[in-house]
Symmetry: C2
Subunit: 232 residues, 2 copies
DNA sequence: CGTGTTATTGAAGTGTATCAAATTGCGTGG
DNA sequence: CCACGCAATTTGATACACTTCAATAACACG
């Protein structure tokens, strides 16, 4: 029955008890009782590639828990250039920055592939905070790590050249989202450069025996040398 | 008695009750009773320009509350280039990202001018969390905003040219730390460019009547036009 | 009053974006 | 299942904003 409609939010499509371990996020996994508390208010949703989960400048309504697939948070500048801020996979959460900063979304969330997630309204999340104070500390820990990544990325953008950032991007994308193929454009939007530069750099890496490009598939042959190239 | 030693940490140099409103940070200002709880464990410290409060890669020992002066958080790359991540003034806190991420400092904290602050050990901070659960939410709010600023800065580094970033830097530094003069190098390290480029750009801004440079002092003449130049 | 730091200006080099065009590859619908 | 069409890839040529290096001048500090 749930497969009749597509890209629609349906209540209780997956019970919290059945939610795979892969989707155990820092809120649900914190302490027993929380999944049950959210069970009645959560709503399951599905999205296909390139569909938008939420748009920048809108106000957050709650949190999205990713159960399956990948979601990218991207920002598009006035002249149309897109940049990928974060990528969230199963077990990850979407919308927490804006919710807790009490600000509008500053990025747009887009499905990278077939995505399944569940939404919990703001009010219910805040209730969890009241009953489980340790959840706030876990989220604090998470956002603090995000902040380091963001600030490190800014300095990398200046100190390192495009080849180093692209090498870093390849390693990051493989480490975190192994079973995923990325377009040159997506790699560029993550590494902070252009598809053309990614292209030429990958060709160079292949010539040096660091990677192997079979069509759109990229295999890392020598991870250590690639790390060295990225100054990691 | 407290003025005999310099750059030394002395217990209870300023009581929390006497701490100026300017220094009311998001922890102490949250609810009554917290300052008293920290009173016995806090340690006051003083630093002069360019002195280091803590070094990158060291483990955090607690939190620093800025009472007077400015502190910059900077990261130095392998080739010696310094970049300013954040600037913290009176009422601000230092070291919270690393403490809550449970990571080493990823930046070095340096006094921009004469700085006065008080230090509270990690254990005492965690005690406050237990007795005042709402403090975690306030910190979460603060770090979430930091995260937006950091991510916005990364995209600005790519989308905007040096003149735009420098205009943005001038506005930011004036808005937040009005009574402070900055060297070209400091502006460059904040804007993500070089002192030479800052130099030439400021000369251009002056020619356009946007600012007025009397030696090291920079006056903003036309803030609206400067904002337009920064695409803000 | 010296001395080291900062400011200022000039010239040169370069990495990377930009633009353009051909080719490949993939998804979609017939 | 094949063919079509559009998007992604690939390659080349060009432009240029910015960094880098260098050398002088102005300034602040002890």
């Amino acid at each position: 029955m749930s497969s009749k409609k597509k890209n629609d939010c349906e209540p209780n499509a997956i019970s919290c008890a059945m939610c795979g371990a892969q989707s155990q996020n820092i809120i649900c996994a914190t302490s027993p009782g929380i999944p049950e508390a959210l069970e009645k208010s959560k709503i399951n949703c599905r999205y296909k590639r390139d569909q938008v989960i939420f748009y920048a400048d809108n106000d957050p309504l709650g949190l999205f828990f990713v159960q399956r697939g990948l979601v990218k948070l991207e920002r598009v500048s006035e002249d149309g250039a897109a940049h990928t801020l974060r990528i969230v996979g199963p077990g990850g959460i979407l919308g927490y920055r804006s919710l807790f900063a009490d600000e509008a979304y500053h990025a747009t969330a887009i499905a990278v592939d077939e995505v399944e997630l569940c939404f919990v309204p703001k009010a219910d999340i805040l209730n969890v905070f009241k009953s489980h104070p340790d959840v706030a500390l876990r989220l604090l820990n998470h956002v603090a790590k995000d902040l380091r990544l963001a600030e490190e990325r800014w300095v990398d953008q200046m100190d390192k050249g495009a080849p180093e950032r692209i090498a870093e991007a390849l390693i990051f994308l493989q480490d975190h989202f192994h079973s995923q193929t990325w377009t040159r454009r997506e790699i560029a939007e993550w590494a902070g450069t252009t598809p053309e530069t990614v292209m030429r750099t990958l060709a160079q890496f292949e010539k040096e025996g660091l990677i192997d490009q079979s069509g759109r598939q990229i295999q890392i042959l020598n991870k250590d040398s690639l790390k060295a190239k990225a100054s990691l």
